[in-house]
């Protein structure tokens, strides 16, 4: 395959946009006869990960990792697709005129980057990814390529996420300071919640952790995949007084509604990359913002882009402008990719407009 010099691809007679092109239904691979993460029902879908803005029901055939398929099944029911095919990290299969290979994206359990190679040209559609450590999923793998399609959820230099373990220590310090109050941690139910629980365990917290009903299915699935999360209890039915000094995980929308009245003087925390910006946290009435993100931060995005060796960068969902500007200032060919429909995982969980699960 060619390296770093995008022009080599053109010499081989195949322009990248002949391989992958944005279409109404999502990123379309004509020579392969499939779409990546389509937002509308298509005949053949290749899916990066289980978040609902990327993994939707109703496709004819779905190719994804076993975990992603399992999570789609848990969310949408047995008949979420006409047929399914599981693929492992590192496994390569041929679809039409292209070869497709899955690589870990480090975003959530089962998340993958999809490398599409046609003739000599390799394009990596990274989906959502992060290069920071996460004990609940396989680490991000760098895939050298000619064209790198990157997300830009946190594509501004103000987003620098630091060590998630420090944020969890902040949470534990607050629990110690306010033993008579309950701590409610808003976290997206796929990936973030399990990561927070795991980080709490790694920080030495071994008390039972309580779960909002909406968290249970996916969390139990994580446990069934061998991820030790310690003792978890449903919060439903627990007496108010018994919740003093405890930690409960809930979908973000639940932490500011009627549901919170069952807790003694709750401290509202929210684990999200958006919490880096104070106005965002205040707008949501968050008292304890925890900067824990499932996406690469600015430094992660720029370091990854550089390291892929790709000469051309396509930037999608998020702050495209800043990242495209950065790429160009480094001499890379870059353009925003016009894709719609991403960034609304857990519909009801994202009251603030334009806020992806993060």
């Amino acid at each position: 395959m060619t390296r770093s010099d995008g022009n080599a691809a053109y010499i081989a007679g195949m322009r990248p946009q002949d391989i992958l092109l944005p279409a109404a239904a999502g990123l379309c691979c004509k020579p392969g006869g499939f779409h990546i993460d389509p937002v509308r029902p298509v005949e053949r879908a290749v899916i990066t990960h289980g978040h609902s803005d990327h993994a939707r029901a109703g496709h004819g055939a779905v190719l994804a990792t076993q975990e992603t398929l399992d999570m789609m099944r848990l969310r949408y029911g047995e008949n979420f697709a006409g047929s399914t095919q599981a693929i492992r990290y590192g496994e390569e299969i041929r679809l039409g005129d292209v070869r497709v290979k899955f690589h870990p994206a480090g975003h959530v359990l089962g998340s993958a980057q999809i490398a599409v190679t046609c003739k000599e040209t390799c394009i990596v559609a990274s989906g959502d990814y992060k290069d920071a450590s996460d004990p609940t999923c396989t680490p991000f793998e760098l895939v050298p390529c000619d064209v790198f399609i990157t997300e830009a959820t946190f594509g501004l230099p103000v987003f620098r996420h630091g060590d998630a373990a420090d944020e969890v220590r902040k949470l534990l310090a607050s629990v110690a300071l306010f033993p008579e109050r309950a701590h409610l941690v808003g976290a997206y139910s796929l990936g973030k919640a399990q990561r927070v629980i795991k980080l709490l365990r790694q920080a030495g917290y071994d008390a039972p952790i309580y779960l909002h009903g909406a968290m249970e299915t996916i969390t139990h699935y994580y446990q069934s995949r061998g991820i030790e999360l310690g003792e978890l209890r449903p919060v439903k039915g627990v007496k108010k007084a018994a919740l003093a000094g405890t930690i409960t995980l809930a979908p973000p929308s639940a932490t500011s509604d009627l549901w919170t009245r069952r807790f003694p003087d709750p401290v509202t925390a929210f684990a999200s990359g958006w919490m880096r910006v104070r106005a965002r946290a205040r707008q949501r009435g968050v008292e304890l913002p925890l900067v824990i993100s499932d996406h690469a931060d600015w430094d992660g995005l720029t370091a990854t882009i550089g390291a892929t060796g790709a000469g051309e960068i396509w930037v999608t969902h998020g702050q495209e402008d800043a990242l495209v500007h950065w790429c160009r200032s480094k001499g890379l060919k870059a353009q925003p990719l016009d894709l719609v429909g991403y960034g609304d995982e857990e519909e009801s969980e994202t009251p603030v407009q334009g806020e992806a699960e993060a």
């Binding site: 230099p157 550089g306 390291a307």
Partner: protein, 625 residues
């Protein structure tokens, strides 16, 4: 500095008073001298150094970052200090060459080998040692899925990755003490370089706090009183005790903390004109009168002004120093320089700050023109002449009178004011009464009960026990306030917003309106907002009503049905009205609260804007001079 920053950060999000106190007291307990003293000074506004201008901060960030990226970031964040704190890049030698020219890296770590390879080689040694001294090690728990995927992935952020600019590294960040003491002596030209150094050394929260501190814009919702209360809690002391000695203390308050921790005696207040914690009154209820004997009490008018303590004392050289304090002990002398020359007799007067024109007390609206002014111009002083109406004497020269019964202090006050003989300071008259009926009549009609032309500035009567000593705080049964009945209107609930903290799951902030003639007939115009006055039970009822009758949602705000025959009428009580160009209705209420829910009343029978405008007209002429 980082620990102080952490405190500020947490305080900025915490809505509850008691929780704020816990956080601050926790900080004082955990952090040693002199840092905690400078923190207390920062929270009480007692630090003094020349503040940095925003333009300086902009220049600093411009020298470090790409202009376009800064612009986009600033647009997104909306706050200069925060934007700079978040995006401040480490002093790392980046590889500025085009990435295109490089051979592609081997398929492993994204960081440290690729884009920042050059930097990695130059900083690796330093980074590793700083990591160890930091005690920060990345958790190296093996992924449960390891082996499932194909090898070749890198395992999260390894130590090499601490070249990652968001990880802090050496040298150690400055302490708060270093920052404060350096800023005090630093020359203007040295400031940018120094700030840059600190920004390099601090973490994000530290940078944010530093920039807030140096630009003089902390704004985290902490009053000086709250910070002192938190300090007092450290030694289980009454906050009044701290207040009492406060004027004699200077940062970093080593003597204060030594006393609070039981390591030394209480510091002596050597201030010639110290503040004395004020005595407050309870609101009287109808049921209270039965147990009270009119003969035990002296009544005065309750003035609608600002409660102040005017203190004058002699320093070591015999010069008289005068100070004016708010009821919370804040020194407000600078706002009222025109009163200072009148405070020439050593003593401590408890009284009300008012505006007098031609011997007549003006309304609170007029007084308000003199409040919160940065510059007190001669014009302002001339047009809004300040006056002190005295009702108690806490000290007479060297003598502390607070142990004396009120009746005796009152006599001393009368002779003190007579001796002072100053047109700017007079005596608040007592209201003679023989029975509660007689006092009720006087309160209902102050003009004919002695207040005369000043009656408009009377907001009720005060009852003080003849034998009551002057006690700090709100002691039971000594002083009572019996306020004039508030103004009442019936308004219609228009919008509701979620509260904060404990109330974050309730719609507890209400915007209400009254009727006015619009283009298409009568329409409601918002006239105010209220978020208290109701009982817990009523809050539940309104919350339920809001949820069931929402017609639209705008973020946290709900549009609640408000039509002629559908909606909720709120009885709103308020203390006064002011003209306000900022409100669509043109009026703003003082101290509005929900006094009753009028489930029985259809919205179309609620009050009209004309009713409020009539109340305004009576006062308007007084402000426009």
């Amino acid at each position: 500095m980082n620990r102080f920053a952490e405190l500020l950060d947490r305080l900025a999000y915490e809505p509850g008073r008691n929780n704020k106190l816990r956080l601050i007291t926790g900080y004082f307990r955990e952090v040693g001298d002199p840092d905690r003293g400078y923190a207390l000074a920062a929270l009480t506004g007692a630090l003094s150094f020349k503040h940095a201008k925003p333009a300086l901060i902009r220049d600093l960030i411009a020298s470090r970052t790409d202009e376009v990226l800064f612009g986009l970031s600033y647009d997104y964040v909306g706050d200069l200090s925060e934007t700079v704190a978040l995006m401040w890049p480490k002093r790392v030698v980046y590889d500025n060459q085009s990435l295109l020219g490089h051979p592609s890296p081997p398929p492993s770590p994204a960081r440290g080998e690729g884009a920042q390879r050059g930097a990695a080689q130059q900083t690796r040694f330093k980074t590793d040692s700083s990591l160890a001294s930091d005690g920060r090690t990345s958790p190296t728990v093996p992924s449960p899925l390891a082996g499932e995927g194909q090898g070749g992935g890198h395992s999260g952020r390894d130590p090499n990755e601490s070249i990652h600019p968001s990880n802090h590294n050496n040298p150690p960040p400055p302490t708060l003490t270093e920052v404060v003491t350096t800023l005090r002596t630093l020359g203007k030209t040295e400031l940018p370089k120094q700030l840059e150094r600190w920004l390099d050394e601090l973490d994000e929260t530290g940078r944010w706090a530093l920039l807030k501190l140096v630009t003089g814009a902390l704004r985290i919702g902490i009053s000086a009183r709250l910070a002192k209360t938190a300090a007092a809690a450290l030694g289980d002391k009454d906050p009044h005790e701290v207040e009492l000695i406060w004027p004699g203390l200077i940062p970093p308050y080593l003597d204060l903390f030594a006393w609070l921790e039981g390591r030394a005696d209480k510091p002596v207040n050597r201030d010639p004109a110290p503040f004395r914690p004020v005595m407050l009154a309870h609101a009287i209820e109808d049921a209270d009168f039965a147990a009270l004997d009119p003969a035990d009490y002296i009544a005065e008018w309750k003035w609608d002004g600002i409660r102040v303590q005017a203190v004058a004392g002699r320093d070591e050289r015999g010069h008289v120093t005068a100070r004016l304090y708010s009821r919370t002990g804040e020194d407000i002398t600078g706002s009222f320089p025109d009163l200072v020359p009148s405070l020439r007799l050593p003593g401590a007067i408890d009284g009300e700050l008012l505006i007098l024109r031609e011997g007549r007390v003006q309304s609170f609206n007029v007084l308000q023109q003199r409040l919160n002014r940065k510059v007190v111009s001669p014009k302002l002083i001339k047009e809004f002449p300040i006056h002190l109406r005295a009702y108690d004497l806490l000290g007479d020269d060297e003598n502390d009178l607070r142990e004396l019964p009120f009746a005796e202090r009152r006599e001393r006050l009368e002779s003190f004011i007579k001796k002072l003989d100053d047109p700017r300071i007079d005596l608040s008259p007592t209201v003679p009464f023989a029975s509660w009926e007689a006092l009720t009549a006087a309160r209902a009609d102050p003009a004919s009960a002695g207040a005369g032309e000043d009656a408009d500035a009377v907001e009720g009567v005060m009852l003080k026990r003849r034998d009551a000593p002057y006690l700090p705080g709100r002691p039971k049964g000594q002083w009572w306030k019996w306020k004039r009945d508030p103004h009442i209107i019936d308004a219609v609930l228009m919008y509701a917003q979620r509260g904060h903290g404990k109330r974050s799951s309730y719609y507890s902030d209400y915007t209400f309106g009254v009727w006015t003639a619009g283009e298409g007939g009568d329409e409601l115009v918002p006239v105010g907002k209220a978020y208290f006055g109701f009982t817990d039970e009523e809050l539940l009822q309104i919350d339920r009503f809001v949820r069931r009758n929402t017609t639209e949602k705008f973020g946290p705000v709900r549009h609640v049905v408000h039509e002629g025959d559908k909606g909720l009428v709120l009885e709103v009580a308020f203390e006064g009205l002011q003209r306000s160009p900022r409100h669509k209705s043109g009026v703003a209420m003082r101290f509005p609260r929900i006094s009753r829910l009028r489930w029985d009343k259809p919205p179309k029978e609620a009050d009209r804007l004309e009713t409020l405008e009539r109340m305004l007209k009576a006062e308007a002429a007084e402000i426009e001079v």
